[in-house]
Amino acid sequence: MLLRKVSQSSALCGSILRIPPVLSGGQRHAGAVVAVQNVRLYASQAAEAVLEKPAAVGSDTAGKVEMKTVAAESKSFAVNIFKGQIATAQVFPYPSALNEEQEQFLRELVGPVGKFFEEVNDPAKNDALEKVEDHTMEGLKEMGAFGLQVPADLGGLGLSNTQYARLVEIVGSHDLGVGITLGAHQSIGFKGILLFGNPAQKKKYLPKLATGEHLAAFCLTEPASGSDAASIKTTAVQSPCGKYFTLNGSKIWISNGGLAEIFTVFAKTPMKDPKTGEMKDKISAFIVEKSFGGVTHGPPEKKMGIKASNTAEVYFDNVRVPADCLLTEVGGGFKVAMNILNNGRFGMAAALSGTMKGVITKAVDHAANRTQFGNKIHNFGAIQEKMARMTMLQYVTESMAYMISGNMDSGATEFQIEAAISKIFASEAAWTVTDECIQIMGGMGFMKDAGVERVMRDLRIFRIFEGTNDILRLFVALNGFQNAGNQLKSLQKALKNPIVNAGLLAEELTKRAKRKAGLSTGLTLQGSVHPELAQSGELTTKAIEQFGAVIEELLIKHGKKIIDEQFVLKRVADTAIDLYAMVVVLSRASRSLSQGNASAQHEKMLCETWCVEAHDRIMQDIKRLRSSQSRQLFKNLRAISSAVVENGGVVAPHPLGF
């Protein structure tokens, strides 16, 4: 009853997954297992798979395979659910990543930062002026807000990720425009120097960046290269003497573009392939100073939201960049870019959880005081549902943010899927929550003075920048598939030596048999989850089992072509997101119950309600992924889209005929 399906393709050029011919049933012991061979990409390159054109991947990436990914056990929860496994190390118990000293220090910081944003920063003014007021910028610089994660010996505060998240939450709850100004500077602008800079680079640049004397900007996007970051056209040609690079190109929509002194710029550098000797274009990352000359910027863009944040085009015209401004090495730029974005994502979830808190407070204040139909409106079911959903979304986002920051602080190296999930979830949750807040407030919510419409406008960009949610969904799904495929590959290896691996093979057989029969495969969250949440734990476990099964089925059905099945990938990602969301609230609520917190019963209710609804969504999606009706639906969707594109607009003629 093991699966035996042939899905082979001889077209290997630019392929990401290759499925070999199936091993025939009679060949070895336990029947055939389709294996995925030669899965070549590891974490960051999975992004490459999505973003790079096939031609750019080329055969040289094969050389870069990290073989350890194949054999090593991943600790990431998200990675393992694709294999139908539960890895609890990073999710249970809910991490507490602050020691006593860090916690005390953080407590001391929270007061002054909050006070500053309540008393000095004026978000409405910033929005109207389309810039952060000068005295506010000065105050933020004095406060040390521009170097939160720079090591203390270089003039920063040396905050850990969790501490940073807590402060960024305060900023998020008051003014997202300021949040982006700060974030574009330190979360991505000079993060490259923090993560990849050599000691000389760090010493040279970080002190002035930490005090805010110099601002930084992250320069990747170009007019023709947004999601497809690997297709950038800015060039950096190395001089014959090797001492400098000449940078030419233009970048658009760069936050802090008009204010920055230091730019992290990504450009294509022609380099010789060591094996073949041919010249290839690889992306490299550079620290570029405005003082190098040739760096100019356009006027501030007029935007829908985050108006206080400066967004501008940046032009590089024959800029001479010294070779020692390279970050890592020539050709290492893509990895630098992906790591920077990955490293800063938790910050977004933290900031947005703060935004949601603020907005929920406004909604509650209104609902508790507004009387209509002889009753305070919070007594009506329609309002109650809104408030409850808003609360759950905020609880999940907050739980994700601090789980990920806690994991990062504890030394976890694998969190990219979780980080991506948190960005997707947080940005969409914040949008929904703010939208519902305006709805609860009615006409008032629509008015500028209430301060909520500004938040709504500020939030829209969060689903777009730092990796659009659509791309990130593909990333989550493909990364998961690739890891699941690796496991199948290990199985194939095991099959080669069935006697030695008899135990493993028998185990795998039984697991699949049980899954197919709908029986539990022994997977359990018991022991990790608080007994009072056992039922929700059960729902999660069942969902993970079925998820693992459907992933395998999809891999076998589509093989390497899975990368093109975006309708499928989206639903797979949505399920993975829901699963991670379930587990983070289970973890947090379990901790509250164990600690006997006053809010424990309330959190239990949040957790249970969330899990029931998430489980339903997941089961529905899995059903659809298996059904032939959805295949037809996808075909229809595709066809509708083609027709509309061909027609340059809607196709159906007007009902009136003209």
């Binding site: 220090f105 407590r107 001391e108 910081l109 007061g111 002054p112 930062v113 006070k115 500053f116 000095v120 105050g139 004095e142 406060m143 040390g144 807000a145 939160l148 203390a152 003039g155 505060l157 040396g158």
Partner: protein
């Protein structure tokens, strides 16, 4: 003169919090409630730090009496620029009955011990509004006092203090060592910046008990009952002067 200034800082319930009385009317609810430095103490710290920045004095020592949490208040003073702190540990019942008399005894003892040139306090605390500690401290030390200070300046070996009094402003010149209490308009306290909070971690806070200073902190007062202010009653409108007079005589007011 030693160039050392002692500043007393008190941990009180934050001014923005809505105060609630405990159900047993014994005191006010403090558990889980946000606390911060008394605003007038902030002004006192700010004045001392300003003096140091102008090089008029050499060292600012922040003092607070209370349980473990008092150290947070001292740290805020350190973050504002004080050089070191002294935490006089008082807990439990003794802390609940701590008042101006006890504090002034402690401050006097410390002023002598530290050979302070000046003791600067807030004019009153926003929780008990006693407005006594500064005055009592000066009396115990037999030092001059400049209370309700809205302006302080050094003139040779004396201190000129402009005091806010009911009639207006009074300017006095007093000898040092002296006690000064800060009023609202003395200065605008600075925000503690995050780098300063970080630097404050390295500054020292000495621990001691009242007994170490030879001070007896038994209270002479007993709080019988704490009540919320009475709910404001609605007023009554009258049409004519006659009505007004009759209502007033009914109430026994004329």
């Amino acid at each position: 003169m030693s160039g050392r200034v002692l500043v007393g800082v008190k941990r009180v319930i934050d001014y923005a919090v809505k105060i609630r009385v405990k159900p047993d009317n014994s005191s006010v609810v403090t558990d889980g409630v946000k606390h911060s430095m008394n605003p007038f103490c902030e002004i006192a710290v700010e004045e001392a730090v300003k003096m140091k920045e102008k090089k008029l004095i050499k060292e600012v020592v922040a003092v607070s009496c209370g349980p473990q949490q008092a150290q947070e208040t001292i740290r805020t003073a350190l973050a504002m620029g004080a050089d070191r702190g002294i935490h006089v540990e008082v807990t439990g019942k003794e802390y609940e009955t701590l008042g101006p008399l006890q504090i002034s005894k402690i401050m006097a003892a410390l002023a002598k011990k530290e050979e302070a040139q000046l003791v600067i306090l807030g004019k009153q605390a926003i929780d008990d509004d006693c407005n006594q500690t500064g005055q009592m401290t000066a009396a115990l030390l037999d030092w001059p006092q400049g209370t309700f200070a809205s302006e302080v300046s050094f003139e040779g070996d004396k201190i000129k203090v402009v005091r806010e009094i009911d009639g207006g402003l009074e300017t006095i010149k007093i000898n040092m060592p002296a006690v000064i209490t800060a009023d609202l308009r003395l200065n605008t306290p600075r925000y503690a910046t995050l780098p300063n909070i970080m630097k404050a971690k390295k500054k020292k806070i000495a621990n001691m008990k009242p007994a170490d200073l030879g001070v007896d902190i038994t209270s002479r007062l007993e709080v019988l009952r704490v009540d919320e202010p009475p709910q404001r009653q609605a007023g009554v409108k009258v049409e004519t002067v006659e009505d007004l007079v009759s209502k007033l005589s009914e109430a026994g007011l004329v």
